[in-house]
Symmetry: C2
Subunit: 875 residues, 2 copies
C-alpha cells in the first residue's frame, strides 16, 4: 500500500515533490534537531488522488492519518480530542513551490466544547483557550464550509465597539467565552448545522479543504503567472499546536536571515507578543521589529539568530522563517529560501560568495534570471502607488512602469509625445504599423492579446512597459474612449500601468529609477566566465543596438529588416513596391528603399563591429504594410497612376485567410526576386563602406521561413550573384555568411539538405511552435486559458519551449544538419531565447548562441550561465 | 566525359529517363529490327545542362552531335549538308512522359539553297524538294526564331487564292520554288537576317530551340496539370528524314493497335498519301481512315498491321504509332503506349488478359486510376461542344460536365433548383455555408481558389463538376454579374462547365451519360482481390453513403459531423449554441441539435451495417457557422434575448487572424464539453436504436486536431462517461472505438503517448501538410504558381503526399504508435487518399484503410490494388 502520510522525522529537504516545500523543510529542521512541533505531512500524491477520486479523501489515507496521530500522541504525551492535555493541531498547505497566501490554513483543530472547557480549567487560562476556540470556529467555517470570515469579524467589531475596547488584547476570558458561543451560533445560523465536535471529522475535513484550496481562483491564477503546473498538487502539514497567545512570555514572528529588501546581512523581521501566527500577517495589531525582541526576550533573540545563521549555512541561501514562542520556549514553524527584491538577491548572492558560504556557481544558480528585469525597468514610487485606485487587471506582458496621457492611435500618440507629453498608447490590439507609436509612448495597454501578442512582443523587444489582455476594459477607438466598470477615460486623461503586475491605475504616479549595483556587475562577470553559449540581441535601431552592446550582447542575432521600413516616408515606398504592377515600378520603389537600407546597415555594422550582425530578409505578409486610411490609399494611387478603386482592389487581393501561413518569408523573394536583390545590394554596399572606414564587419544574411531546399538554393543564388556584382562594382570584397531561419516543421525534417546549403541556422521557435501545435499565437490566448484551468497544458509553449514536440524537431534538425555540415553555426532568435528553461534546453542542444531583445540580455546572460553550470554538472 | 548523345542502336526502352519516351522507343524498335530511320538522341541530361549553363549548348555536346552525324552518314550513305545525296534530318522533342503537341519539331533540316538545287536535280522531283525546303524555313523561323507561322501561312493562302487552287497538292514545282523564295524573303524581312545556310548552325539551333520549348507556357501548364516535374527536362531526337511527300507511292500516318475510343481490337488510325507528318495532325487535308490503306497499298497495310501486333505484344500494351511510306517502303517513326478513353482502357486491359497477353496484375497496373473519373461523371455531347465558344479557362478542379443557369449565391441557387431549373453556382470563392447550394447546383464556378480550394474539395467530395480559379473572369456578386473579356452574364444566363478540362462555355450543352461496362466490373473485381488496404468513404449524407456503398466502400472513414448542421433550421440552433452566453443556453440549443444528429447517425449506421462508420466530432472554427446577413443576426439575437449589437460584437470576437490554427477541433470540446457530450449521446443512442432493429453497428468516434495527450484524455473521458450513462439509461450496450485524427506535426511527434489512449488513428493529411509547410491551403495558390515555374516545388503537396516532410512525420508517428499499441487501426482521410502516389505511399506505411470521397472510390480501389501489386513485388 502506497505511503501517503509521512512523519516529519521520516522526511528531508530533498523530498519537496512529495512533501511540498514546507513539509520537507520542517522535516529537515527536525533532522537538524531544531525545536519544531511534532507533526506529519499528507503528500502531494494524496492530493492528486483526492481529485482523481472525485474529491474524496479515501479510507486508506484517513487510516494512515489516524496512525500518525497516534504516533504524535505518544511523542507529545498529549491526546487528540482528549479533555486532558489535549493535542491541538494546525493544518497548513504546502506545495512544491511556495505560493504564499494562496491556500488555506486552520489552527487549533481538535478543540470542541468539552475539550475547551476542561483545557481551560487545566491551563487555568480560559482566555487563551476560548480565544483559540473562537479562531478555530471562524477558520473552519471559512476554509471547510466556505462561509466568509466577515460575518464573524463583523460581530467581533460590533462587540468591541459595544464594550468600548480598542484591541483583542483588551478582551477578557469572559468576553472570549461569550464570543465563542456567539461564533457557534453564527456558524449554525449560516450553515444549518452545528460546529462539529468530533476532532477526526474536523481533521479529515480540514485536510480535504486544503486540497480543495489548491484549485481556488487565486491559486490557479498564481500558478499560471508563475508557470507552476496544476498537476503538482499540494501537500498538507498537520502539526502540534504551540501557542503564541498563551501570555506575555509567548509570541509569534516572521523573520529573514538577511534584509530581503536590501540584502544587508542582518536578521530582519517582525513579531507580536501574545498572539497567534496569522495575527502578524493579518495586520490587526502592529507588529514590532525583530530588533526589539533583543530587549524584550534577549535569550530567545539570541537563540533565534543562531538558528537563523545555522539554517542559512545549511540551505546556503537566505532563509524566511516563522517561529512561535510558547511560555519562553522557541519553536520554529517554517523555514524556506526567502523571497527578496532583485537588489537584495544580488547582494545576498555576492556577499555569500565573499563569506565563503557558497561558490560563484551556486551564487549564479541562486538568482532567478527573471528578477533581473526589475533592475532595468523604472518602478513606481511605492508610497504613491498604495494610494491609487486599480481600475483593471491585465496581463503583465512587459515589465516596467508607465504613467501618461492616453491616446488611441499611433499618430495621436506620436504627435503628443513630440509635444513633450508623457503618453500611454491604448489599443484594442496593436498592429506592426503602431510600432512608431509604441516607441514614443511610455507604455502600451491593449484590451485583446496575451503575453505573446504583438504588442507584448514588441514592447518587450523595446524594453517598454506593456499590459495586454485587459479584457475588463471596453474601448471605443473611434470615439477615443476607454471604459472601466465605473468610469470613462478620454483622450488625454492620465492612467498608469505596472508592467510587472499587470495592474492599471487611475491617474499619474511618479517613478523611481533602478540603479545597477556593484554586486550586479560582479555577478554578470561571473556569469560570462562560465557560459558556453553567446548572447546576441534582436535589434534593428541604433538605440537598440547601442543598448544591446551596453547590456553585453556579442552581436546582433536578429535584425528584422521589415521594422526598418515602418517610418512614414519609408512605408510609402514600401507600399509602392508592394502594389507595383510590374517589375519596373517595383524596381523604382526598391531604389528609393535601398538608400535607407544602406544607411541603417552601416549604422548597425559600425556599432556592432567586430561582432556579427544577422540580417533577416523581409519576412511578414505584405498586407501588413498596406495603407489603412483612404487618404493613404489615395496618395499611393496617385503615385502609381492607379485609381483609388484599383488600389483598394489590390489591397483586398492581398488579404489572406491565414496570413501566418501565407505569402511571406522567402516566399516573397521567390515571387519578387528584386526584393532579395535590393536587400543584398544594401547589405554588401554598407559592409564595404563601413569596412573602408576601418571597422570589422561580419554580416550574416538570413533567409526566413524556408520549407524546401530549393527555396534556399534559389534565394542563395540571388544573394551570391548580387553580392558578387556589388563587390566588383565597388572593387572591394567582404566576407559574409548565408544561413536560414528554421521555423517550420518541414525545415526541421529536411535539415540535412538545408545544412548543405547554409552556413548557419537560427531557430525561429515562435513560428515553429505555432506550426507544430497549429496554435495561432494571435488567436490561441482565447482558448488556452481553459487548457491551463483543465490541466491540459502545463506551460505556455510560447513562453517555454515545448521539449516533447518542438524540441524533438529541433533535436532532429540539429542531428541531421551536423551530419551534413559539422561546422554549421546554430542559434535561436525566438521569444523563447530569454526564458530560462528554454535557454537550458538550447544549451543541451549545444547551440552556439541565443538572441533576445536587448532589454532581456542581462536576464539571458544569467540564464546562459546557469544552463552551462547545470549541464556541465551532468557531463 | 559524360555521354550526352546516344545512337538509337545504343539505347533501349528502359532508358526513358535519359532518352525520353520517343528516343527510348525508337531505340527499342531498332533493336527489334523494325525499319526505323537512323538517328540519335540528345539526352535529358543535356537539356538540364543547357539550362544550368544559361541556355547555351556547350561545345562538348556539339562535338558529340557532330560525331553521331558522321556515324549516321556512314550508315545511310548520305552526307549532311552535301549537295549530293544529302542527309536531311528531323529534330523532335521527347520527354520522359509523353506531352503531345506541347513542344516543337523541325523537319527537313540540312536543306539550304545549294543542297535544294542539286537535290532537286538529282531526284528529278523539284516539287518535293522545294515543298520540303519551304516547310523547313517556316518551321525553323517559328521554332528557333519565334516568328509566328501565320505570316507564312497568310502568304500561302493568298498565293493559292490568286492561283485559284484548292489544296497544296495542286501546287506545281514552280509554285513551290516561288513559295520557297518568298518564304526566305518573309524570313529576312521579319528577322533582319538571312535564313542560315550552314546545316550545323541549323542543327545546333534546332536542338537548342527544342530544349527551349520545354519551358514554353503550354508545356509548363501541361506539366503542372499532369504532375510532371520541371526538373526532368526533354531529350531531342535527331533522325534521318524519310519522305512521305515524294509522290503517290509515299505517305504518312498515325495509327493505334486498337481503337483508342472503344478499345475494340482493330487497327485504328489515319493516313495521307504524298504528305509530311504534320499534315495529318494539322488538319490542312482530310486524312483517310487506315482501313482504306488496305485497298490503296495492301502490302504496306499488311506489313504495318503485323508490326503493330508485334509492338503491342512486345510492350504488352496498346500502341500509338507514327509511320511514313517513302516510295513504297514503310518506316516506323514512333511508337508509344497509346492514350485512350477510360472505356477503351478498360476494354483493352481486360481483353489482353483474356488474350493471354498480360496478367491480371499487369492489366491493373496498365490503367491510370485517374481516368476512372471519366466513367462516372456525365460528359458533354462532343458534337455540340465543338460549336460552343470558350469564354474562359479555369482549373479543372472536379471532373464532370455542368450546364445551367448561373446564380451568385447559395440561396438563389437553391430556390431556382427547387423550381426545377438546372443551375450553376458562381462565386468569388465558396464558404462552408454554400454547401447546400453546391449540392443543388449542376456545377460550381469560382473565380479564386486552386485545385484544393474549398469549392474544389467540396465538389470532388460530392462528385460535382467544379471549375475553380477562373481568374480571367470578373465577378460582381452584389449586382449578380459575371464578366468575360467581351461579354456580361447575368443571373439566369446559361453557361456550361467542363470540370475535366477547366473550360467554361457560353450557353447550354447537352450531356451524354457514361455507362459502366462489363470490363469495368471485371477489373474492379480483380482489383479487390489483390488489395491489402481497405477503401472507405468520406460521407455524411444518406445519398453519399448509399453511393459509397454502391461504389464499393467498406465503411465510412470520415463523417464530418459539422456538415450535418448546415441546413437552415439546423444552423440556427448551431448558432444559438455558439453564441450562448452560459452553459444553460448552450445546453438548450444542443438539445435541439441532438435530435437531428441521432436521426443522421441512425441513417448512416443502417446503410453501412455491418461496416464501420468513423464519426469525427465538430471540427471547424466556430465563426464559419456564424450568421452573415443582418436578418439572420436579428433573428438570432431575438432567440437569445440579446441585442443585435451584442450578437454583432460576439461574432466579431469570434473572428480569428488565422482560423486554421484557431479555436477548432477538439479545442472546442475542451472549452465547451457539452458539445462532445451531445455528440456522444447522439452516436450511442443511434447505435443502440439501430442495433435493436437488428443491424450490425460499428461506430468509431474520432477526436479531431489533437496536439497533446491531455486533450485526448480529456475528451475521451467525456465520451466514455457519456456513453456509459446512455447505455445504462437505454439498458443496452454497444461496442464503439475511440480514436484521433493525426493532423498536426505535434500529434506525429507524440504519437506514442496518443496511441496508448486511442484505438485508431486517421491521418488528416490536408492539415498536416498545411502545418508542416506553413502553407495555408486557402492562400498558397497565389504564390505556389511561381514555385512550379521556378522549379522550386515539383509537385503540389496538397495533391500528392510530400514524402520527405509530411511522409517522414507519418512514418515516425506510425513507428512510435505501434510500439505503444501494436493493434492500433491506421487510416488516412485527407484529400491525398484518392491520389495514386499517395495511396502507394500509404500502402508502404501499412495503413489499414484509406478514406476518400464517394466519387473517387473506384479510382482509389484501383490505386490501392496497384500499390499492393507494386509493394508486393518489392517484398
Amino acid at each position: 500500500m502506497r505511503k501517503y502520510v509521512y512523519l516529519f522525522s521520516e522526511g528531508n529537504k530533498d523530498m519537496k515533490n512529495l512533501l511540498g516545500g514546507k513539509g520537507a523543510n520542517l522535516a529537515e529542521m527536525m533532522n537538524m534537531k531544531i525545536n519544531v512541533p511534532q507533526g506529519f505531512t499528507v503528500t502531494t500524491e494524496a492530493c492528486n488522488l483526492y481529485y482523481q477520486e472525485n474529491k474524496t479523501l479515501n479510507k486508506n489515507i484517513q487510516k494512515q492519518i489516524k496512525q500518525k496521530i497516534k504516533k504524535i500522541e505518544s511523542l507529545t504525551h498529549k491526546n487528540f480530542g482528549s479533555t486532558k492535555n489535549p493535542l491541538l493541531l494546525s493544518v497548513r498547505s504546502g506545495a512544491r513551490a511556495s505560493m504564499p497566501g494562496m491556500m488555506d490554513t486552520i489552527l487549533n483543530l481538535g478543540l470542541n466544547d468539552d475539550v475547551a472547557s476542561s483545557f481551560a480549567q487545566a491551563t487555568n487560562n480560559p482566555r487563551f483557550v476560548y480565544d483559540s476556540y473562537r479562531r478555530l470556529i471562524m477558520m473552519y467555517a471559512d476554509v471547510v464550509k466556505g462561509l466568509d470570515k466577515s460575518v464573524f469579524e463583523q460581530f467581533l467589531t460590533k462587540y468591541k465597539d459595544q464594550k468600548n475596547v480598542a484591541g483583542d488584547l483588551d478582551l477578557t476570558s469572559d468576553d472570549m467565552l461569550l464570543i465563542t458561543r456567539e461564533f457557534k451560533n453564527i456558524y449554525y445560523q449560516n450553515l444549518k448545522e452545528e460546529f462539529p465536535q468530533d476532532p477526526y471529522e474536523q481533521l479529515y475535513n480540514a485536510v480535504s479543504a486544503v486540497f480543495e484550496s489548491w484549485n481556488n481562483d487565486r491559486a490557479i491564477y498564481y500558478r499560471k503567472m508563475n508557470n507552476i503546473p496544476n498537476s503538482w498538487g499540494t501537500a498538507v502539514n498537520v502539526q502540534e499546536m504551540v501557542y503564541g497567545n498563551i501570555g506575555k512570555n509567548s509570541g509569534t514572528g516572521v523573520a529573514f536571515s538577511r534584509n530581503p529588501a536590501t540584502g544587508e546581512n542582518e536578521v530582519y523581521g517582525e513579531y507580536l507578543i501574545n498572539a497567534q501566527g496569522e495575527d502578524v500577517v493579518a495586520g490587526i495589531r502592529t507588529p514590532q521589529p525583530i530588533a526589539k525582541l533583543k530587549e524584550e526576550l534577549p535569550k530567545i533573540y539570541e537563540e533565534f539568530t543562531k538558528i537563523a545563521k545555522r539554517l542559512e549555512k545549511h540551505y546556503k541561501d537566505m532563509q524566511d522563517m516563522e517561529f512561535t514562542i510558547e511560555n519562553g520556549r522557541l519553536y520554529m514553524l517554517q523555514t524556506r529560501n526567502g523571497k527578496r527584491t532583485a537588489t537584495a538577491a544580488l547582494k545576498v548572492a555576492v556577499d555569500m560568495v565573499q563569506e565563503g558560504l557558497i561558490t560563484k556557481e551556486q551564487a549564479l544558480l541562486n538568482i532567478d534570471p527573471n528578477i533581473i528585469d526589475q533592475l532595468l525597468h523604472p518602478v513606481f514610487d511605492k508610497n504613491v502607488l498604495a494610494t491609487k485606485k486599480v481600475i483593471a487587471q491585465g496581463l503583465a506582458a512587459s515589465p516596467g512602469a508607465a504613467s501618461g496621457k492616453i491616446y488611441f492611435n499611433a499618430d495621436d500618440c506620436i504627435k503628443a509625445s513630440k509635444n513633450g507629453e508623457k503618453t500611454v498608447l491604448v489599443r484594442l490590439e496593436t498592429s506592426p504599423e503602431d510600432i512608431e507609436g509604441v516607441s514614443f509612448a511610455q507604455g502600451i495597454l491593449t484590451i485583446h492579446g496575451g503575453m505573446t501578442s504583438h504588442a507584448a512582443v514588441v514592447a518587450r523587444g523595446m524594453g517598454k512597459c506593456c499590459v495586454s489582455g485587459a479584457s475588463e476594459l471596453l474601448i471605443d477607438e473611434q470615439n477615443k474612449v476607454l471604459k472601466s466598470s465605473d468610469k470613462e477615460f478620454k483622450q488625454g486623461d492620465y492612467i498608469s500601468l505596472d508592467g510587472s503586475t499587470g495592474k492599471i491605475y487611475e491617474g499619474q504616479i511618479p517613478y523611481q529609477e533602478n540603479q545597477k549595483s556593484k554586486e550586479f556587475i560582479t555577478l554578470m562577470k561571473w556569469a560570462d566566465e562560465v557560459s558556453t553559449m553567446k548572447v546576441r540581441a534582436n535589434a534593428e535601431t541604433v538605440k537598440d543596438a547601442k543598448n544591446a552592446l551596453e547590456f553585453g550582447a556579442k552581436g546582433i542575432g536578429l535584425c528584422r529588416t521589415e521594422h526598418m521600413f515602418f517610418a512614414s516616408e519609408r512605408i510609402f515606398h514600401l507600399r509602392q513596391m508592394i502594389l507595383a504592377q510590374n517589375t519596373e515600378q517595383r524596381n523604382k520603389a526598391l531604389k528609393k528603399l535601398i538608400a535607407y537600407q544602406i544607411k541603417d546597415m552601416e549604422d548597425l555594422f559600425r556599432i556592432m563591429s567586430p561582432n556579427p550582425v544577422v540580417i533577416r530578409y523581409l519576412d511578414p505578409p505584405l498586407h501588413e504594410f498596406l495603407p489603412k486610411t483612404k487618404e493613404e490609399k489615395k496618395q499611393l494611387a496617385e503615385s502609381l497612376n492607379l485609381s483609388l478603386k484599383e488600389v483598394e482592389q489590390r489591397c483586398d487581393e492581398l488579404k489572406e485567410f491565414n496570413p501566418m501561413m501565407g505569402h511571406r518569408g522567402c516566399r516573397l523573394d521567390i515571387t519578387y526576386p528584386e526584393i532579395a536583390k535590393m536587400q543584398t545590394t544594401a547589405v554588401i554596399t554598407a559592409a564595404i563602406n563601413v569596412k573602408r572606414e576601418g571597422y570589422n564587419v561580419h554580416p550574416e544574411i538570413m533567409i526566413p521561413l524556408v520549407v524546401d531546399v530549393n527555396e534556399l538554393k534559389y534565394v542563395k543564388e540571388i544573394i551570391e550573384t548580387t553580392a558578387q556584382e556589388v563587390m566588383q562594382q565597388l572593387n572591394c570584397s567582404v566576407k559574409y555568411l548565408i544561413g536560414t531561419m528554421i521555423e517550420s516543421p518541414r525545415a526541421c525534417l529536411i535539415s540535412q539538405d538545408l545544412a548543405k546549403n547554409a552556413e548557419f541556422f537560427s531557430f525561429g521557435t515562435n513560428d515553429l511552435t505555432q506550426l507544430t501545435y497549429g496554435f495561432s499565437r494571435d488567436d490561441s490566448a482565447k482558448f488556452l486559458n481553459d487548457y491551463y484551468v483543465k490541466n491540459i497544458l502545463l506551460k505556455d509553449p510560447f513562453v517555454s519551449i515545448d521539449t516533447e514536440g518542438v524540441g524533438k524537431l529541433m533535436k532532429l534538425a540539429i542531428q541531421n544538419a551536423k551530419k551534413a555540415n559539422p561546422n554549421i553555426e546554430l542559434g535561436i532568435c525566438g521569444e523563447h531565447a530569454a526564458e530560462k528553461e528554454s535557454i537550458n534546453f538550447c544549451n543541451q542542444l549545444n547551440l552556439d548562441y541565443i538572441s533576445c531583445s536587448p532589454y532581456r540580455i542581462y536576464n539571458a546572460r544569467l540564464a546562459v550561465a546557469q544552463a552551462a553550470i547545470k549541464n556541465g554538472r551532468n557531463l
